[in-house]
């Protein structure tokens, strides 16, 4: 009979009988996904709150993408529960001395803010679509469905006068403003879940929430750059293929210009947040080494020994330093920024991995080690969920959701197509 964790945990030296890697790759995915949610939202708010005009196109995109990522942030948690059917109890019967208990409140508050912000941003479009579809005779099935969706989404508010739209803009600004601290809270709080575990020598630091927020923003921006580039490339491809007939209002050259400009602007913010994130992580590391309390012996052997490749080569080298250089070399191209963004995403993923898995890679005895062997080929539901299969499922979900959402809320140039 297998115990939970036994299938992927290797134990070395003095490890207590009940110790296993209980929080596996799904718990790496959880902060990674919430980080993307928070980061994408912060990026969109840069435009809405601080009026950084250069980010206009990216802002709308990031907002919808953040909404698509939101439900997915919950999936890894649900997948790792031993009793997933009771997961709802965290919302229904929260036990407030637990850091996890606030999840329901923080998560739904944030969800409500993003949903209402999207509604205000797209209200004009929704009303126009609902009205034009209503007028249309003999609708196809998909048009009938869309008509219903848009009619419901108007929530009965059809006023799109200049004055009303002005109020919408104001609402968006307020919501984006409230959204920034809430997004930071959503993710900082994920950091708190780890940072407050006093039994874990690696996790327990008050810096954890701040480190999590900074790397969240970094990963969110990187993902937006990447997805934006892919979407624009598809648009460019369509524009060249269809020439003038297929009603795309922009030429290839125009798209190219907009794309490069947006990406250069966004990558500046990415580099800025990256500097913050790395400084905090290094501060934590230096502080631990300098104070060298009782647990430092085992931590040092993990950080500089067993996990050296994961931390210094993959996370800091490939995931931080390399993209940092790529972004800073003058004359940034779309292709270079895409490669750098992929590396940044990988680096942040490795950071989550090194925290979550690294924190469990030594025993409570401080005299033994555990090694997580991620299940690649699933042999049971358990090894699927807590292995590569589960990771790929979680990673693919936001893109599927984004694709569906973008059918209803087009992310680029909708002002022109709506008429």
């Amino acid at each position: 009979m297998h115990v939970h964790g036994e299938l992927w945990t290797l134990k070395e030296f003095f490890v207590l009988p009940n110790e296993y890697i209980y929080w596996s790759v799904q718990i790496v995915m959880y902060p990674f996904m919430t980080g993307l949610v928070a980061g994408a939202f912060v990026l969109s708010s840069l435009y809405h709150v601080f009026g950084i005009k250069q980010l206009k196109d990216m802002a709308r995109f990031a907002l919808v993408f953040s909404f698509a990522l939101l439900p997915v942030a919950m999936v890894p948690l649900q997948m790792h529960l031993q009793q997933p059917q009771r997961g709802i109890e965290v919302f229904m019967t929260p036990h407030f001395t637990s850091a996890i208990a606030a999840f329901g409140i923080v998560f739904s508050t944030y969800g409500a803010i993003v949903a209402s912000e999207i509604w205000f941003v797209y209200r004009k479009y929704i009303v126009e679509m609902a009205l034009s579809l209503r007028k249309k005779m003999d609708k196809t099935l998909s048009e009938k469905v869309l008509h219903l969706v848009y009619t419901v989404l108007t929530l009965g508010a059809y006023d799109i006068s200049e004055e009303a739209l002005h109020k919408d803009e104001k609402a968006v600004k307020v919501l984006a403003g409230i959204g920034i601290p809430v997004a930071c809270f959503l993710h900082g709080y994920a950091g708190f879940i780890f940072g407050s575990v006093k039994a874990n020598a690696l996790w327990m630091t008050p810096l954890m929430p701040v480190i999590f927020i900074m790397s969240a923003v970094v990963s969110g921006i990187a993902l937006c750059i990447l997805t934006y580039t892919i979407t624009m490339e598809i648009k460019k491809f369509r524009a060249t293929r269809s020439k003038s007939s297929y009603a795309l209002y922009q030429s290839k050259e125009e798209i190219k210009g907009v794309e490069l400009h947006e990406i250069r602007m966004t990558s500046k913010y990415l580099v800025f947040f990256m500097i913050f994130a790395i400084s905090l992580e290094l501060l934590d590391l230096i502080f631990r080494g300098y104070t060298a309390v009782k647990t430092w012996d085992i931590l040092r052997s993990v950080i500089y020994g067993r996990d050296f490749t994961d931390i210094f080569v993959l996370q800091y080298g490939v995931g931080n330093l390399l993209p940092f250089i790529l972004f800073l070399i003058p004359g940034l191209t779309v292709r270079r920024s895409a490669v750098a963004s992929i590396l940044v995403l990988f680096g942040v993923f490795m950071m989550r991995w090194n925290v979550v898995i690294g924190g469990q890679s030594f025993s409570l005895t401080f005299d033994g080690y555990m090694h997580y062997v991620m299940p690649i080929i699933p042999t049971s539901i358990e090894t699927f969920k807590e292995g590569l299969g589960g990771v790929l499922t979680v990673a693919a979900l936001p893109f599927i959701l984004f694709w569906i959402l973008s059918k209803i809320f087009p992310v680029f140039g909708f002002e022109k197509t709506a008429h």
Partner: protein, 261 residues
């Protein structure tokens, strides 16, 4: 119409009321009141381990697994015994193979996936056994972090898990500095030592206490000054594990070595 006299009188009364500090009111806990009035000493379970008496036979682990229906061959256990061997070079060698369910049948140290380490008898400076179980902390971090309150502390100090309510998130397992928690292989919820709550409630001893042939394990009521366990804790030199975490563990050890983890 309010007169000046009335106004002054009311103001004085109001000020007097405000001046009464909130601390003057004591919130009375009905349970506490009941216990005080009853004249009986309160009840708080505590455990005492005499490490000098433990020989590492593992009968306690066996008894626990059977009593509490933790699958016999599963590599988890509510209680276990650790072996500590310190050699002349000052190195510590420790293990707990299969939670010491079958005792320590070989002198080789179990290094998990690293195999076994043979230690020569003449190199050993000291060696001893340490039984472990849930510390039933006064301030249990496991109960603090449970997001749904499925883990809770009873009035008499024992921390229990509601198997019908646990969502199986594992946060409590992470929060326990003693590694006493695990997922039950059959019920798939958090599992831990309960001091055999179903037995001690009926006046019986825990399964491990009953199974120990050497009297290394004892359980008692720390609020009762006449309890033999309480007498030892009060009069002899005892220690607890990992007090630095502020959990106030209630398993006391006689002969605790600084090498014990």
């Amino acid at each position: 119409m309010i007169t000046r006299r009335q106004f002054l009188a009311n103001t004085a009364k109001g000020l007097a009321g405000l001046a009464l500090p909130a601390a003057a009111f004591e919130i009375i806990d009905p349970k506490k009141l009941f216990a005080d009035k009853g004249g009986k000493p309160g009840l708080r379970w505590a455990f005492l381990v005499d490490t000098y008496k433990c020989v590492g036979c593992g009968l306690c682990v066996k008894a626990c697994k059977i009593e509490n229906e933790v699958p016999y061959d599963a590599k988890v256990s509510r209680t276990w015994v650790e072996r500590y061997v310190i050699t002349k070079d000052g190195k510590l060698h420790a293990d707990s193979p299969m939670a010491a369910r079958d005792g320590f049948t070989t002198s080789k140290i179990d290094l998990g996936d690293r195999g076994f380490e043979d230690i020569k008898a003449e190199d050993i400076t000291k060696a001893f056994f340490v039984p472990k179980l849930c510390n039933q902390c006064e301030k249990p971090p496991c109960a603090q972090v449970c997001p749904v309150g499925a883990t809770y502390q009873t009035e008499d100090g024992v921390v229990l898990v509601d198997r019908t309510w646990c969502i199986g998130c594992g946060y409590c397992i992470m929060a326990c500095p003693y590694g006493v928690r695990f997922f039950h292989p059959v019920y798939h919820v958090a599992e831990k030592c309960t001091f055999c709550y179903h037995r001690i409630k009926k006046g019986l001893k825990t399964a491990c206490v009953g199974a120990c042939p050497f009297g290394a394990r004892m359980i008692g009521n720390i609020k009762d000054p006449d309890d033999p366990v309480t007498k030892i804790i009060r009069t002899q030199r005892v220690g607890v594990l990992k007090s630095e975490y502020g959990t106030e563990p209630q398993v006391y050890y006689i002969g605790l070595d600084e090498e014990v983890r």
